[in-house]
Structure formats: C-alpha cells, structure tokens
Amino acid sequence: MGGKVTCTLGEVKQRADFIIYWGGNPAECHPRHFTKYTIMQKSKFLPRGRKDRTMVLVDIRETKSAKAADIFLQVRPGKDFELITILRALIKDQPVRDEDIAETGLDRAAVEDLVRRMKGAKFGCMFFGMGLSMTRGKHMNSAALLTLAAEMNAFTKFVAMPMRGHGNVTGADVIMRWQTGYPFGISFNRGYPRYNPGEFSTVDVLVRGDCDAAFIIGADPGATMPQPAIDHLARIPTIVLDPHITHTSRLARVHITTAPQGISAPGTAYRMDELPMPLSPALKSPYPTDEEVVRRINEAIAKKPFWLPDGGPSPHQWTSQVNL
C-alpha cells in the first residue's frame, strides 16, 4: 500500500510504448505534452514514434484529446475509483461480474482488452489529471491509479505521474518536503512542522473559520474556493501578492503588486516531473518580485517580538509522545 512509481518525462519520451491519460485533457490543458514528451516523439527505442506507441484516454466525456487517442474509454462520472479497482482485480485474475463492470460505463471486452494491452506493454505510463484527482474520492482516486501502476510492475514496467497544472505548484511541493518533511497542509503552531490534510488544508481551515489572518501568494482563492471560505477571507485580515488585482485582492486588507514569474521575475520553476528549470525573464517590471517582498516582510516580522515566549525548548529535547 502507498507509495508512487514514477519517472522523469524523458523516460516516457524514450521508452513508453503504452500511455494512458486518465481524467485529463492534455490537448487543451497541456498542449505540448503530446509533442514534447509523450506520443509524438521518436526515440532510439521507439524509432517510428507515434506508430510505436499506443495511447488510451479515459475520461467522462470525449474531449479534444480523444482525437489523439488510439482508444477512448468513456467512464461514467464518479466511477473512476471503481474502474481502477476493477483493473487491480483483473490484472491478478480475480473474478469481476459483467454487470459490475457495466456499472462503470464500459463493457468486459473493453476492460479486458485494456488489461491485455497493459500487460503486453514494454513500458507503460499513466498520467492522471484533475478529472481524477479533483472529483469525488479525490486523493483516493490518485492513490488508486498509483497503486495500479505499482502493481503492474509484477508483469511489466509501469509508472504513473500526475498532470500538475498551475505553473510551479510542483516547486512548492518539493520545497516544502525538503524544508518541513511534508508536501502541503502543514502547521507550525507548535514550533515545528505537523501535517494533516483536512485539518490544516486551506479550504477546510477557511470553511471552519480556523485562521485569523491569511497571506495569499500566487493564487486567487477569491475566484475559486467555495463561498464560505471566501467569506472567511473577507472577515479576517488578508494580504495578497499578485501581478494583478484579483478577486482576492478586492476583499483583502493589503494588496501588493508583484512582477510575474518567468516574464519579469527571475528564478526557478519545477516541471511536473520534479525537474527544476531556470527562468529567463524578458521584461523589466516596475514592480518588485514576490521573493523580494516576502523577504522584506520576513525581515520586518523578525524585528518584532518573537512568538515563542522563551525562545523555545532546547533542540535536543524530544517532544512528548508524537508530533501531531
């Protein structure tokens, strides 16, 4: 249980003869994914490029990406988890009834064909998008696909990877992991990092009204989050850093305009496969960068009284019981 079996995108370009996109629409959301990394590339191992590769799209509706697919499987909305679980059973030759397969919107022939092709692949890769990870079941849907990919390695080489959107969200993930041990949903209330999605994740925190100030950078929750969360942001002092005046800026106490990354702010961004890329900004912005503003806020806070009353216990003190 648990874990993740993955690779960098160059491995897919070089080796993947079988590619599944699940709950994603790369043709419209990641337009160069096909051409740069996956199905269109020729390589030493797949010299005929597209002809040497099979692409399967699994989604609840026939998006533009279906045109690029060899096989399109239309899963009934909300049945992804069930379908992946069925696949986990079928690869192990466990029986599943026809009518249970039919519930997912697919028939036995289609599902068995998929299993056959998966096992017959030399190097299989599954990409999953927000159609999987943001629908009912959320993290368990992603976990299901990651588990299926891991289990496929009993038969052949298989990997899986999320189709991360939103620019450098991967960078945040990677940095938080090395600095705090956790990828998101972190609390420093007790002076060290603690992790509990659901308890410390933003939507839950805002909906419950658990925080009493908010610092928002590189996101516009005022446009995307449920109304009760937005209402709480309006109630508490909110500070926004953004290149534009956003929905969140309008309900914030403080808005600071900053230079957009990669256009007029230099630095680094991580690709979805966790490779860092240097940025080469073209324009000189009249605004400061995020980095500069946050650093100056940190400097200003450091001048104020420290929040741990006596500097905190010694670093070698073991905390009682467990750190959650």
């Binding site: 690779c7 370009k13 070089q14 990997v159 090395w178 002076g191 500097g311 010694s314 070698h316």
Partner: protein
C-alpha cells in the same frame, strides 16, 4: 580566535594519540600555531577529534525528498527541532529535513558529508537542498554507471571520448566525483530487468558488460586525477551469494584506486535466503591485501528505516518481500532510484547476518585508514545512530550483549562472536574523520595540523561511549563554536566542494545532439551554473604525470 587548552588530542594524520596540547584557531577558521587573545576553551580532561567526515550518505536530492514524502508516519514520531529566533524548525527521523540534517550532523560532531548519489538531471535540485543544510560542508557524487551517452562511448571502445563526456557531466552537475551504482543494472531495470553477471552484455548492448564499466570508470577517475576515486556500489547488492560478484568486481579494478560503498551489503554467501551467511572474512582479506582500496561499512542497525538506492531492481524485490510502500523514480538517460521503508529485526536471520557483517568488516579490515563508519544513511540505519556503532566497535563486551538478542541459528552464519578487537579512540578518529577525509581527497579536513579547516569536536570522556559520542561538549566549525552544552548556538552556511576536470572544449558540441535526442529539457538549461552553488570550493584535479 579560539585557544582550546588542556584537551587530549586524537589526530591520526599527525600520529597524535591522546597527547595534551593546546589547539589554536584563527579568525579565518583555520588551525594555526598560536593565537593571542580571543576565547579560551578549557578542555581539561576532554577528548578532541577533528570534525567527523561522512564518506557516504544520502541527505539531499530527488530520492531522499521522495522518501520524506513517503514517510509522514515517521516524521510524527521523531525528534522535532523547534523554531527559535535564529534557527529554522525541522524534523529528524529516517529522512530528516534539510535544516534538521545540519543540526543532527553537527550535533554529533560531524562537519563534512558526502552526498553519494546525484543524477546530473537533478543536480540543480540537489544543490538547492544542500544549500539548505546548515553548518556542515558538503560534497556530492554524480551517478555515471548507467548513463546512456557515456555507456555508448564505452560500447564503441571510445575511451578518450568517454573520459571527456564524463568530465563534461561532472562539471555540468557541479559535482565532486563519480558514483557507480549497479553498473548496467539500473539501465536494464528501465525495462524491468537487472544486470547480475559481470561478463554478460547489458540489455540493449552487444559488447558492453558491467565489468567493463567498472574498469573504465576506475581508470577514468584516476586519469582525470579526481581527488576521490570511483565510488562503487557493486552489482547484486543484498543478494545471497553476492560475494562472488563483489570479488569479481574488485578484480576488474586492475590496480586502480577505488572506494567500495557499503561493502556489508556485498559480502554474503549462501545460495538463497535460507542459507545466506556472512562472507566478510574473504572480503576483509581482499582489502587487507589491496591498499589501493577503501570502503565504508554500510552497517545495519536494528530498527525502522527507509531504504533508498539507485538500485531499482533490488528495491522492487524488497517491496515484494515487505509488502509495504514502494517508491520508484527513473531518471531519463542517467539512472533511477527506488524507495522502500524497512524494519531490520534481530529476530530475522537475514537482518541479523547483515548487522553482524557490517561490524565484522570494521573489525577484520586491519587498517582503519581503509574502512570507515557508515550506515549508508538511511539504508542501513540513520546517520544519527553512529554513536551506537562506535560503542560496538570500542567494546567487545557490549557486542556480546547485543549478540544475545540474535537467534541461535544465526550464530553459525556469522564471524562476529569470534572477534575480540576493540577500537581505540585513535582508531575511531581514523574511521570517522581522518580516513574518510583522506579517501575523499579533502586535504584540509580530518586532521588538526596547522592550516587545516578548524572543524573540531570536543567530547567529555565518559564510560558510556554512546552518550559521549552523541553529545559533544563543543563543536567548532570553521572556527565558529556552533554547538555548546548540547545546544546548537550558530547555524552558519557551509561550503560545497566541487571539481573541474580538464576537458576538451569540443565535448560540448559532441554531446549536444546526443543530449537533444534523449532528454526533454534545453541543453543550455542542463548544466548547473556555478553561481547557483552557495560558497563553492573548487578542488584541483591532479592527473598522473604522462610518462
């Protein structure tokens, strides 16, 4: 300026074995003959070592960061470093956070570490993490034994070209040396296979064998005059009977210098898990008769850890054996890595053999300048448990106590019960500092002679060896007192060591088309810019004089 008075100095490089002398440190962070003024530290009755040097550890980069994400349950039960006004918070445990890594190493008197496995492709990421490890100095090694562009040159017998390509990669990665993991095996893993025999051509090649990769990499490292020789993780790690592969591999070195990583994992006899036994006697004998080689033990300690290695096929096997979590990350063209949490148990015969084998190597390889302390952190155990190993090395009686916990049926498979050797303090100082510093070619580390970096650790002499080595009285890094009375006082930024081997400028143009063929990023973005390295310290390469 600091003068440390009255302490017993253990400085193996200078042959100082516990003599009481003053130690002087100037304002540039170097050991000097004498100072006037400044702080005086009274170390009467205390023991002074050069700062510890870890020759083989995994503390930064994609793999350990993957492990951090996979083990939130461990972060919850481990040591938490609480935020102070000047110091960042962090978590210890199996895969400590970067800040905690610095505090934990410095906290037990280690001041230099070598991150032993970096794919060039994630070198940029690794250096970013290394920059976030405070206090200690760092070096990193680049994974080269499964790199397709390099292997292709070797396949075609283009030795000179291979040497140029390797130099190019080292400089692109801003690396300190060459690491070889399971030569050819990781590459084969990319289609789910492995490379186990040194003379069988690797999957996808007509001629090239793992044995040839070993010979060529060792030769290239020597020819380039890298300060650290090839750092070799042999094929067949962890498998019963792998001693044959290991000895065969060592023979392929053909007299070149080499450092054999975590040799404990490569010293097994038997022909299956049921018959697996320790074969450390033959391996130790090989080291005893080959002074061109160094090794680190890769000791296994009982308890929970997370295993991380570029050896992908081994990790898939371990996942199948444990049924626990499994992470795998294949890196295009270069390498891969697998991550599996694991618990070593004394009741498990295989684990018990592993535990004994690591100690046996440390005890049976006679010259402490050849065998060093390591757990292959976090694979055999976490680095912050080194004091436990020191205690086992210094006390045969303590080892006998530990042996009582093992099942009887393991005793016929190990040599440890027959070994009475006890390390002296001077030998400990050699195995944890002087030896690894010399093997790494870090001339300013691992000794307390005039001109050395003032990385000094002061212990209070105690009967409880583990306590003594876990809680130094003072740790001085580059002349700054960073730890005093068990408290981290300062968390300065350390240096990063790198090399710039000689390279034909035409290599860039040679590699470009090959690169564009197999990678997915721009060629221009691949090399890490020197400006990205915080406090770089370039070391010379000294190629042998051409005769």
């Amino acid at each position: 300026m600091i003068r440390i008075t009255g302490g017993k100095i253990y400085d193996p490089a200078q042959g100082i074995d516990g003599q009481v002398r003053d130690l002087c440190i100037d304002d540039t962070g170097k050991i000097v003959e004498t100072v006037s003024g400044g702080r005086i530290i009274d170390a009467t009755g205390m023991v002074i070592f050069p700062g510890g040097v870890d020759v083989h550890t995994h503390v930064a980069g994609g793999a350990i960061n993957f492990a951090r994400a996979m083990t939130p349950e461990d972060h919850r039960r481990t040591q938490a470093f609480i935020r102070t006004k000047t110091r960042r918070s962090g978590l210890g445990g199996m895969a400590p956070t970067t800040f905690a890594t610095g505090y934990l190493y410095a906290g037990m008197g280690f001041t230099t570490v070598n991150e032993a496995a970096v794919p060039v492709l994630s070198a940029r990421h690794t250096h970013e993490e290394l920059a976030d490890i405070p206090i200690i100095d760092k070096a990193s090694l680049t994974l080269m034994a499964n790199n397709e562009i390099l292997l292709e040159q070797l396949e075609q017998g283009e030795y000179e070209r291979a040497k140029q390509v390797l130099s190019w990669y080292l400089w692109a990665a801003k690396s300190y040396g060459v690491k070889a993991v399971n030569p050819g095996g990781v590459k084969a893993w990319k289609y789910g296979h492995d490379a186990k025999a040194l003379d069988t051509p690797i999957d996808g090649y007509h001629r090239l064998t793992p044995g040839q990769i070993v010979t060529n990499l060792a030769r290239i490292c020597d020819d380039l005059g890298l300060p650290h020789p090839v750092h070799l993780h042999c094929n067949n790690l962890g498998a019963p009977g792998n001693i044959t592969t290991t000895l065969d591999t060592l023979a392929r070195l053909e007299g070149h210098r080499a450092h054999i990583a975590h040799s404990q994992y490569h010293a097994y006899g038997g022909d299956g898990w049921d018959t697996m036994c320790s074969e450390t006697t033959v391996l130790a004998e090989y080291f005893n008769s080959h002074p061109n080689l160094t090794t680190d033990a890769g000791v296994v300690l009982f308890g929970d850890t997370v295993t991380i290695t570029a050896d992908g096929p081994w990790q898939h096997l371990l996942y199948k054996l444990t049924g626990r979590k499994w992470g795998n990350l294949d890196v295009e063209n270069e390498t891969g890595c697998g991550i599996v949490p694991y618990t070593y148990r004394p009741s498990n015969v295989v684990n018990a053999v592993q535990w004994a084998a690591g100690l046996e190597l440390l005890l049976m390889i006679r010259d402490p300048w050849q065998v060093f302390l390591s757990t292959d952190h976090p694979n055999g155990g976490c680095f912050w448990r080194y004091p436990e190993i020191i205690q086992m090395l210094m006390s045969a009686e303590f080892r006998r106590e530990c042996l009582k916990k093992l099942p009887d049926r393991v005793k016929s498979r190990i040599k440890l019960p027959e070994l009475d050797r006890e390390y002296t303090l001077l030998e400990i100082a050699t195995a944890m500092s002087a030896g690894p510093a010399r093997a790494l070619g870090l001339t300013h580390k691992g000794h307390l002679g005039v001109g050395a970096d003032a990385d000094v650790v002061v212990y209070e002499e105690q009967v409880d060896i583990q306590q003594m080595f876990s809680h130094p009285r003072y740790v001085i890094k580059a002349g700054e007192v960073v730890l005093e009375d068990g408290d981290i006082r300062e968390a300065p930024q350390g240096k990063e060591f790198l090399v710039r081997p000689a390279m034909d400028p035409a290599t860039n143009d040679f590699i470009r088309p090959l690169f564009e063929d197999c990678y997915t990023m721009k060629f221009e973005h691949y090399p890490v810019e020197l400006e990205r390295i915080e406090h770089p310290d370039l070391r010379d390469c000294q190629p042998p004089a051409t005769s």
